[in-house]
Symmetry: C3
Subunit: 280 residues, 3 copies
């Protein structure tokens, strides 16, 4: 059976771009199965693209091909690539940092640069076009790979995994009964914030469901939030409108407001400048 | 042929949650067909979830399985359930009011509580996670059911249909030539409001296309709108920007503004506090 | 193999309309393959509907059936139709201007009015409903056509292609070293503006990548923007936040801001009132 293609981009569905891209896939091979990952990655936000791949990939059948196109440098020098992950997935993406989390936490087994001289959509509809690699290069090449028209080796030349562009990832720490980390990403729908702290670290620190933990959030060192917050297994253990610390869906520690938005209520965002510290 | 799975949630496509949930379904059985109902139910709005099931279900092939996840109480006591409707569909949902309209207007034939000890996604990716039943419980259980891995009886123990959580539904009335009801729901895209008044009641009242009906809208008793409004078969019979009474797509009476938003133009919303009355 | 159905509307996914429409298709023939073109055409914006068909259609396999429902006149006199394009696609749409670009730039080979007496969804769920032709007429008729239940001739009576409703399309011009045109459409996500000027006209004018072209934008004659702007092959050749002239994905000249929105930054919109002129 041919692998599923899962797409994620920052294109939105507001105009015809996704439609044209999917048309190319279906024109390569009518049988291919296309699934929307998301087309609402924040514009040019390579970090979020990287995180969303990491977040959802593991739940798909092995062999699934992910096409990720958050590509502010389209048509410039960044490499278009196809990577194989250590756990058996394929990712087609610009090599611009979009593979950061997979490289660090899953592992990349091999990576190849897409040879545009053979794996780019040609013909009268794309002459001189350098601005839509989602359609003309990534989608087209992924479809040919999924269909079996080309092998992985025919994608283009291999290059060292160590050369894959990756942003720095900060590690959490446990010391003196305090667990410290950063807000690595948010849930932009519900307004939850997800730390880089795995649940094991809370277990090591001896934090249990039902504990009220002193939670200090700093932005570039300045304290933004300093409260005792309940740690429990789901949102509904807090009163409506109250904050809660919980194990998120990726087994990391998150902060939420029950039926509210932690991001908006406390004006907190994510990134390396946003430190968070928990202690009993 | 295996039944289609139609999903509706309040997750949006802004991050990777829908993608992970669909990955679980495809990992259970690659052949399963997934369709988006909508992932833009207003957050925590169980009433809208209930109405959207009622609105769209009847148009699908019998046997279709709907997965509805608007679940502010995820991980707390509300029952996860699978219900069979009187007209031959299956609904997988938290039993939190999401079945209100189906229970009242279609009928529920049988309901079972999902046994989490056998029908929850296990494995290293979901340990200790209590916040994503769309992925780990509802989606996973629905996929197993659609695939034939489990029978309906294997979902879990049956419980009385009468115990299904339902919100009160108000009935419309005809008296003294006046038809009275409430705004039961809106169309959040076009800004139309849909009453709980079936077209038959207008027929019984003797209202005909072309009539101008006195329309009084009250919010908690206070008059918000009192105008003669044209009753006709579609929006275009009113001037652009003018209000119109029409038969909506579910054969209930609606209020719209031609190429405008009734909700915004007249600051009207829906719910039991919003009464509407029509007379000639 | 049965043709794919690609849908575009202004319904959004905010409520159950798309879901009900797709349910009808699947009830006609479970095997039919449905793809989202977009459901986020701006409300009532027939011009955008027309452009999006033109933009994406060519990338799909020949034979694909497009269903376009931007239909402010639903239930009034405009004709529901099915058109065959010169390049082998089928379009199901209200004949309200939605075929403008296809008629002018691709060509319509034949058009038929849908006979509502035989090709409208009947039954107890649609009695007296005149407001949802996406579900009851366009989607239903397209599904029957795709499934082979009806032939193209059975759609309804043919009428002259010359009678198809079309908006005027303005032609670009080259004179005295100046290339003049209009902004024909935008990219509402990234905020780029697309002119009606094909890249060939730039070539004829002798404009080359790397040139800085004087760019004058007028709204109803009044100058809104007058700057030298770099012409190059992709966004990244400009500094972040700076404007750029580029060949867009349809081989027309576009204006963008690198990682910004040209529309918002310079308060420019599209339509016949928005002229643009380039010279060296």
């Amino acid at each position: 059976m041919k692998p599923i293609l899962v797409f994620q981009t920052d294109f939105t569905y507001k105009e015809g771009a996704v439609c044209a891209m999917y048309g190319v896939v279906k024109s390569v091979d009518r049988e291919l199965e296309i699934m929307d990952g998301t087309h609402e990655i924040p514009q040019y936000d390579i970090w979020s693209a990287s995180y969303r791949l990491y977040q959802s990939m593991r739940f798909w059948p092995a062999g699934t091909i992910f096409v990720s196109v958050v590509d502010p440098g389209v048509g410039t020098e960044r490499k278009p690539c196809v990577a194989l992950t250590a756990d058996g997935y394929t990712v087609v993406s610009p090599d611009n940092g979009s593979l950061t989390h997979l490289k660090q936490w899953v592992g990349i087994r091999q990576v190849r640069e897409i040879d545009q001289s053979v794996n780019r959509l040609g013909g009268k509809n794309t002459e001189g076009v350098s601005v839509f690699h989602g359609r003309d290069l990534f989608g087209y090449c992924a479809a040919r790979l999924a269909s079996g028209i080309i092998t992985y080796e025919q994608v283009g030349p291999e290059y060292p995994v160590s050369e894959i562009v990756a942003f720095p990832i900060l590690e959490p720490a446990l010391a003196d009964g305090k667990v410290a980390g950063i807000f690595e990403i948010n849930d932009p729908n519900f307004g939850n914030l997800w730390t880089n702290i795995p649940r094991e670290l809370f277990a090591q620190a001896g934090f249990n469901y039902g504990d009220h933990l002193r939670t200090v959030i700093r932005h570039t060192g300045k304290v933004i939030f300093d409260q005792k917050v309940l740690f429990h297994q789901s949102f509904g253990y807090a009163q409506k409108g109250e904050p809660i610390i919980y194990n998120n869906e990726l087994m990391h520690i998150g902060l939420a407001v029950n039926q509210g938005s932690f991001c908006r209520q406390y004006r907190v965002d994510f990134g390396p400048d946003w430190q968070v510290e928990f202690e009993r």
